[in-house]
Symmetry: D2
Subunit: 411 residues, 4 copies
């Protein structure tokens, strides 16, 4: 056993941290305020990009801290999942930092889909500008009319019509849909209703300016619009795209989704761990500097124990996630199903608790935007639902645990 | 022992529920959307009142469902604390309903202060229009620079200068400050720094249009501005008010605060119980109507148990609060200190858990504004801090528990 | 609403407490040690009765503190369920105290069964000596071969053979079976396998010296034999009893069990609340008197908060139980199903947490027999299983909650 | 990062598992029953050794599975802490298995003390027979009169008198004291009361047959005597030992204790993880084979989720412990203080929850001795107190977390 980072990982991590220290943390409050002032409401038509973020993106690209997530050595940095994980954690500490390194969801997952399953034309048209950070993309999966925890409930349709595919349906929680640069969606829908359950759906690339695509509204998530990214509700009414916009093949929707999930969960979870680590730091700082009843808050009652419990939870969640990443790298996603579901439950719940603790230590300052804590808490809440709620993943872990026994013996 | 409501309470409760059924629930979504559209951002200068709410206020007044909170039989309805409690619960189920019956915080607490401690002129000027629902009031206590969990940290000052009092300081989390009808503040500050610890502060009535009063900004609370009420940050710079604006006497700030707290906590807690009950109902409805993996959500995994646990928590919290109310009525606030602190911890934490559970059952719909659940969760989060954080109240309960033993024997 | 005890209840409570103070607490440690020395192992054949307990029983009877549980004014004290509840709590504080007042399980439940469902001969033979505290009884329900959480799984049989009933089967967790005075069992078994599910079982009175009754062993419960009462495993091999030993009628087993449960749950829960209250007191005393790092334990870290949380949990659990008792008295068991299941979950779990906290404060002293805490923890563990595990009761509460909605509207 | 076991570790693990499968699991129930029948009560004078265990010890020694814990390649097997850890986990699965491999507490810790701090004569006299498994040893630290969570409270004394040391005091929770082969104690006491706080105590070797050593009683731990090992209370009354029995030097007690703790905590925690893993397996097996309401228990309500939560907790706890072991190996105990305290909190609490869950799935069978679950639960309860209660370790973690900030910056 060896818990040290690889030299490659460590070297990149050092550079990333130096970049964060020099460029990101000092600008954090100003950029957050600028974003809020530019985009004060849910009126997404008027949302605008932050020039400061665009400038930082260029700096990161110049510094070779770009597309860190992509294992491809030419297009990305050639880092394995376990080597990228500690970098993802660091970017998670500042809410807009992943974008600076072109490592933000859902673009990373969409780029991976295009990388693994896209044909040459699709890559040229969409992957290239995405890798350059020039456009943004969205993922249209969840639907308002059905319980999306069971993805096979999906009702949106994809119909073949000659050389075209015709899309119909209503999607929501399409993250990033409000961004001025959002140009393309990966749309998932029912194409082969007669096929076996997990071969009925397909994924199609849809330019967002296609006729019949209507953004209905942006949704608040725990009170926040997350402008200028946003979470959109969007209808597809007889939207026609050329058949070459199909990803892989008809009926391959779940196969693609499955491949997309493993590394993406690692990314999400490591960013969440970064948020938790940041929340813990802020709690310690606040708890040391604020005084009540003659003592720093951390010396009062159970506050110290809560700091310790946060450390215990974070360290366990990080090791679990790194272990899952290592299993993906060494054994493949299929051999890491327990781990991938496990972190999906453990990490967001951990973040929810740590952020809540940090908010409590901050008092009123914790629930407003003077600190990133309420945003972290909202992120945790969303992560407990996004990409499968806790319950679905617990059921998966239970099923795999029980299967050990039916196969004759657990140890 | 008798757990039945008094006939007076039951009769009012029946009328209140009929009013809610006829006028409030049917209008709920429309009014919430109207409020959001009128007040889309934190730009409080442009916030406006909802005519629909004003109309409902008039209806409630006509129906004799007005100022239910006030035990005074002439000015209010003459209900005891324990008799008002079940009414407060029902109003809590809809976020704007308390205002309709002129029973919303912080006005109720402020009216109680004026009722108990105001002189005739103060009552005439401020209590009368407040009881009529014509103006609104705010309470300026919490300060950004100090840990407000220890109220004696308060640094804002009240200085005598001839016939005038001069106020200086910065306050935040002044709820309702953004409302167009907010006309007066109760300002608490340090007036007698040489006196014993709990006799150093005073309360003063300040018209919000006084020179030197500057509203700096509205704060988000878990992402929400709660427009058109809002939570404000406000500075007082050499604000001069006549000495007759002083409440009771110099140094009586904490004495007034103490009297204000008991019934107010019951109100807050019962409203929160109403929110929890509503959240549970919504969870059951959603859980019955949504299907995943071939079954209604409530038949899947631990969902049913979570519904049951919510019922267990709610019923316990309600009984604890009703018992506290009864103790206030029969023994007085001083003999109910454990109970009053106990409910302040139990109820908001219970609501936070129940709302979180209901959100999880709703999936994405739970975190957006299509249901009141995210708002309930935000309210719970705030209530765990407002009016003393959990930790302060746990310390109080512990102190009283330990005191039983030092006084020689617990049973 | 009125949370005061009735005069009748209060008067009895005062006398009971005086009795406990004068006779029980002072003798507690000596009696517990005597019981341990008399009955050092699981060899139940040699278990003996404590003369000290027998003497206290006589004293209690003389004091009119006898059969307090029985609502019958002649045979018992004529107390309602809610009036007996606070007395049960007080007896729960000392592990052997309920027996002193002839109020111990399972005899109370068995006496209730005989009182409500026994014929005159059965009452004369068994109820009279039980009410006199001269003999003890057991209840044979749980079976080792099946999941007893589903009582319809029961496999033991009752067969008619002329004027006799023939019993076969294996039972375990038959509490009190090792006691020298245990003379009779209520045996539940399958008599009418063709009938509807809840009409297949019957209850029969079986003298424990009947041929074919073999006590196989006493079981440890969390390491304790609970001598001289014990929890036995017992086989019935062609045991023949006269048909007049049948309770009520064939197929009435579940009907009797249902009637037995309501008040019995109140008793169990109130005794458990007494244990929790005692554990909390011990925790405060120990935490005040022991010093570490220069301070009493209660001043260290989160210990004070844990004391407060115990108070919050206990008070809520007590109010929930009293409310359930009041509902049984005023509306009947059938209208109190949610409450009766609710307390069955809430109270033992609360006791487990409070006892665990008190153990932790006591350190090593907490897990050994120098204090009753390990016994309380073991009792809590057992209560979470006995008479239906948590999960069965949560399922019941969920079912009733959901039923409110299918019946059209919850409030 | 690399989560694979070293070849050395894996090879030994495979042999150990084969040994367990062939010799230990098949004998488990018979040996446990034999131990219970040999030693039915707390009368430790009559406790006897199990010949079956002695036979297995010889087998393990012959198989080269002996003293696995000792890093010394000649006296032990030359395994690092992280390489021994997975072996310790496997031995933890059967309550008496560690002894079979001569890897049981407190002997392992005592052997480590003798190995690192003993002089040649001490090693010859005590370490040699301990390594041979011919005698057993105890550790006398905890005292009944003071809060032992603060070890500096220790009141037992060690006085120099010429060439002798004179020991006085009362100790309890001296594990293994009842065993027939227990021959020597490491006694810790106050020798230099004038020295700085952590240099006041010393450790001395005391033959248990020394004059003045009186075993007062064996204590129950959660109801269990753990015969024939036991947890003893013992007095030292003017016990004289030659000065050469002193370990290291006067005042070095805490320095020795510190060195003893790191690897010992890993051992304890890994064994506890083995217990948890076993409990989970049993829960799955029982939950699959028992049927209620027409379904296997695992298909009912939240049972499946609880299985999954156990898997999540165990995996996290194991990774945290392995990481701590690796830090001890690579950076030393002083650089792993957070981790060593962290696992001391996390693992026993995890075991307590997992064992409790498994008990609940087993129903009555779970609390008796038909399964090892109640023993695991009792072990967890004890581990939360032994070697520092949770609270002391949380305080340590908090202190180190806070220190990061005072030293200027956390990341």
């Amino acid at each position: 056993m060896d818990f040290t980072h690889s030299p490659r990982c460590q070297e990149t991590l050092d550079r990333l941290n130096a970049f964060m220290d020099e460029h990101v943390y000092p600008a954090e409050q100003a950029i957050l305020q600028d974003l809020a002032q530019r985009n004060p409401s849910g009126d997404w038509h008027n949302w605008t990009v932050s020039p400061a973020i665009e400038a930082l993106k260029q700096k990161a690209r110049d510094a070779g801290l770009w597309n860190l997530f992509l294992p491809d050595a030419e297009l990305g940095q050639g880092l394995s999942v376990v080597d990228y994980a500690p970098l993802a954690e660091q970017t998670g500490r500042v809410i807009f930092a992943p974008e600076i390194f072109n490592c933000n969801a859902p673009d990373t997952g969409n780029m991976e889909v295009l990388y693994h399953f896209g044909n040459e034309a699709q890559k040229r048209t969409w992957l290239t500008p995405l890798l350059a950070g020039e456009i943004r993309s969205v993922f249209c999966m969840t639907e308002p009319q059905v319980a999306s925890s069971d993805a096979t409930n999906m009702e949106a349709t994809i119909t073949e019509d000659g050389d075209e595919l015709v899309l119909n349906g209503r999607k929501w929680w399409t993250t990033g849909l409000g961004h001025p640069n959002a140009k393309v969606a990966i749309f998932m829908g029912l194409s082969n209703p007669e096929a076996p359950k997990h071969q009925q759906h397909s994924m199609v690339l849809v330019p967002l300016d296609s006729e019949g695509v209507t953004i209905e509204r942006m949704l608040t998530a725990s009170g926040e619009y997350d402008a200028p990214y946003g979470h959109g509700e969007v209808t597809f009414d007889q939207v026609r795209v050329p058949r070459q916009n199909l990803l892989w093949d008809l009926g391959k929707g779940f196969a693609i989704a499955q491949g997309r999930l493993g590394p993406g969960r690692i990314h999400h979870c490591m960013r969440a761990i970064g948020m938790a680590e940041r929340a813990l730091e802020l709690a310690v700082e606040r708890g040391l500097s604020r005084v009540a009843f003659g003592k720093p808050l951390l010396k009062l009652g159970g506050n110290g124990e809560r700091i310790a419990q946060a450390r215990l939870m974070i360290d366990q969640a990080r090791l679990l996630t790194l272990n899952a990443a290592w299993k993906i790298d060494t054994l493949g996603v299929k051999q890491a199903m327990t781990e991938i579901s496990a972190i999906k439950v453990v990490v967001p719940n951990m973040l929810q608790q740590v952020a809540d603790m940090a908010i409590q230590i901050h008092g009123g300052a914790g629930v407003c935007h003077d600190f990133p804590l309420a945003t972290f808490a909202a992120a945790a809440r969303m992560l407990r639902l996004a990409d499968g709620p806790d319950e679905v993943h617990l059921a998966m872990v239970a099923r795999l645990e029980i299967a050990k026994h039916s196969q004759g013996g657990a140890r």
